[in-house]
């Protein structure tokens, strides 16, 4: 009885002390956040607002020297850029096409690698070595890759000679002047740099799936193909969504390899000029800040919309599958319990 009252008496004071503690420590929270936010605001947020602000202005340098503007023009920059005959659509198309050419083999090969690396029946040797090697190109300077492929595929370059010897390209063809080849090579660089990364992501996704689900599927007589389509793939959805979104956002930012491989020109007929190269040219070379601002805002919106769209379409699907798996588990556990109970009563 006495004890109880004593705790009752003590508890309010403890609470106030705790609250007091919280208040006194919270200032450190703000203090330690300060550097991040000061730098973020000065180097990202203010520039971003400036970008959006100037996208509504006529603001450029005539011949790179004489400043024109800034004059407020409303949505004029957007109207010009989004006009049906604008080069923006062509560059956006280039970017997406190069991304798709690289992404389709990337996701297929990465998925295969991820399955092989995690397959316990396969007992793969040297998997650490293979993982390390396939991830390696991701760390290489994309600009250097672009320059290297430019030289390998130059008119007298070694790869051109090999392709000619194998009769894969006709005699007179210059690879860097053929739009198909230029796009394919840029996409190949992109693929080479990212498939290892994707396979590691998918692998950890597969490793994260509950082993017992595979087991119960095996017991139910599901073969490898069914297991893959009905269990692995649906449960991989969140990682898939992640890979798809990040790859798409990365694909929209495609710049270094294409810029260097085409020597900044965009390739024959501007076939490999990406939307980031367009932005770079508008900022650095023609110094048309109004147009550059509008392009930036469009890329910003495009990135956001794509992310939301992919999320919305893929996540419910995953949730349904997960719920089903959960229900299945519950049923199995129930049956097991019943069985156990039955066995025990029999004894």
């Amino acid at each position: 009885m006495k004890q109880k009252t004593s705790t009752e008496v003590r508890s309010p004071s403890l609470q106030t002390r705790k609250r007091h503690k919280k208040i006194s420590y919270s200032k450190y929270g703000y203090l330690f956040l300060l550097p991040f936010f000061i730098i973020f605001i000065t180097f990202s947020l203010i520039p971003l607002i400036q970008t959006i602000y100037y996208s509504f202005f006529e603001y450029y340098y005539q011949n790179g020297i004489n400043q024109v503007g800034p004059n407020f023009v409303g949505f004029d920059n957007y109207v010009t850029i989004l006009a049906a005959d604008s080069v923006f659509w062509k560059y956006l198309g280039n970017t997406l096409l190069i991304w798709v050419i690289g992404f389709v083999p990337q996701i297929i090969i990465s998925l295969l690698l991820a399955i092989w690396f995690t397959d316990s029946r396969l007992k793969l040797k040297f998997s650490g070595f293979f993982k390390a090697i396939t991830y390696m190109p991701n760390l290489v300077m994309a600009a250097a890759f672009g320059m290297m492929f430019l030289m390998l595929f130059s008119q007298s370059g070694p790869m051109t000679q090999i392709l000619k010897a194998l009769n894969l390209i006709p005699e007179g063809l210059v690879v860097s002047q053929d739009s198909g080849w230029v796009r394919a090579i840029v996409a190949f660089i992109n693929w080479l740099m990212w498939f290892g990364n994707t396979s590691i992501l998918l692998m950890s996704g597969i490793a994260g799936i509950d082993e017992s689900i595979f087991e119960s599927a095996r017991l139910d007589g599901a073969n490898a193909t069914t297991t893959f389509w009905k269990i692995t793939l649906p449960l991989l959805m969140p990682i898939f969504v992640y890979v798809l979104i990040t790859s798409m956002i990365g694909g929209l930012q495609l710049f270094d390899a294409a810029q260097v491989f085409t020597q900044g020109t965009g390739g024959p007929g501007l076939c490999a000029k990406t939307i980031m190269m367009y932005l770079y040219e508008r900022i650095s070379i023609s110094k048309n800040y109004g147009a550059a601002g509008a392009i930036s805002v469009l890329i910003f919106l495009f990135t956001g919309i794509l992310s939301i769209f992919v999320f919305k379409t893929l996540v419910p699907n995953y949730n349904a599958v997960k719920a089903e798996a959960k229900a299945y588990h519950k049923r199995q556990r129930y049956l097991k319990n019943v069985k156990n109970a039955g066995g025990q009563s029999h004894e």
């Binding site: 919280k22 420590y25 919270s26 450190y28 929270g29 330690f32 550097p35 991040f36 936010f37 730098i39 990202s44 520039p47 400036q50 970008t51 100037y54 690698l113 029946r121 396969l122 293979f130 390390a132 090697i133 396939t134 991830y135 390696m136 190109p137 760390l139 290489v140 300077m141 250097a144 890759f145 320059m147 290297m148 030289m151 130059s154 007298s156 370059g157 070694p158 790869m159 080479l192 290892g196 590691i200 992501l201 950890s204 996704g205 490793a207 930012q253 710049f255 810029q259 260097v260 020597q263 932005l279 770079y280 508008r282 900022i283 550059a292 930036s296 805002v297 890329i299 910003f300 990135t303």
Partner: protein, 314 residues
């Protein structure tokens, strides 16, 4: 004597005739098993062949790069070499004395930028993660969601505003402009926060407080050592990213003496790639790529492991 004429056989056939289908079934299942085994071997062979091919695709570019920087330009043009030549030293000296290619300053600038950005990113991301992990304060939820949201914004989107501001303030060609923004790195922050959540018990901090340590000291002497593995991996990633970074440095650094290596490589412009001194260009790219690759190969095990575990959490 023929097996089927054996009296025991026929007798057993007669007696347990009903069992024959079972025997057949056994044989079938054995056949199936051996078939499966053969299938497994074939499968394994296919997998290995495929993996070796992929590895070759990944290695061959680097091999060509290293091999070609040991040849003269004219030799390189004659065809693909698979083994080293003996022009390595000449190419290196030629590249150093080539006034069109600012190799020395480029290398030093790249080193400064990559090293300092990596340190800033890792330290301040850890500090920010610690702030949102340990302390309770008003607006904490907003802060964490805000950082998550801005993680999706491509950095290039704000580049135009940055260039305009730098133009107006006459701040072009300043290397610190590339370095300082590294303090705010949402991706590294996110990684650090996840890591802290999985490894840092509050009791440790409480104990240190009881001992009278100041908050910043707790961070330096207790939290940073605990975070060491995460710091190391993120240091390498940040280093590599900034070593390779081209887009924004390419806009802000216009003077040749401030160029970093990617800008130097992108600046190799000629009427045709065939007029380059190819030996020197391969040498330049080897210098830009190979140090990173070597560091990666040394730490690859830890990097891959961290990538894997990080993705499971994310």
């Amino acid at each position: 004597m023929n097996k089927f004429n054996h009296p025991y056989y026929s007798a057993s056939q007669a007696i347990i005739g009903s069992n024959t289908p079972n025997l057949k079934k056994n044989e079938e299942s054995r056949k199936k098993l051996s078939n499966q085994r053969i299938g497994m071997i074939v499968y394994r062979v296919i997998v290995y062949v495929f993996l070796i091919l992929l590895s070759l695709i990944c290695i061959v570019p680097f091999w060509i790069l290293i091999v070609n920087c040991t040849y003269q330009s004219s030799q390189i043009q004659q065809g693909l070499h698979w083994w080293f030549g003996n022009y390595f030293v000449e190419n290196f000296q030629g590249l150093l004395s080539n006034t069109n290619i600012p190799l020395k300053t480029g290398f030093i600038n790249s080193l400064i930028v990559a090293f300092t950005t990596a340190i800033l990113t890792v330290y301040f991301s850890a500090l920010t993660a610690y702030a949102t992990h340990v302390y309770q304060f008003k607006g904490k939820k907003f802060v964490t969601t805000f950082i998550l949201a801005v993680m999706m914004i491509p950095t290039q989107v704000a580049s135009m505003g940055l260039v305009v501001i730098c133009n107006q303030l006459h701040l072009l060609n300043q290397i610190w402009l590339i370095i300082v923004p590294a303090i705010a790195s949402p991706v590294t922050y996110f990684y650090m926060k996840q890591y802290l959540e999985s490894v840092l018990p509050f009791e440790v901090i409480e104990a240190a407080r009881v001992d009278g340590s100041s908050e910043i000291r707790i961070f330096h002497q207790i939290v940073l050592p605990i975070l060491k593995p995460a710091l190391a991996v993120q240091f390498i990633f940040s280093y590599v990213t900034n070593w390779n970074n081209f887009f924004i440095p390419g806009m802000l650094l216009q003077d040749k003496t401030t160029w970093t290596l990617p800008i130097v490589i992108a600046g190799l412009k000629a009427s045709s790639p065939d007029t380059f001194d190819l030996g020197q260009v391969y040498m330049l790219m080897t210098i830009a790529i190979i140090p990173v690759v070597i560091v990666y190969l040394i730490f690859s095990k830890a990097i891959i492991k961290n990538l894997t575990s990080g993705a499971v959490k994310g």
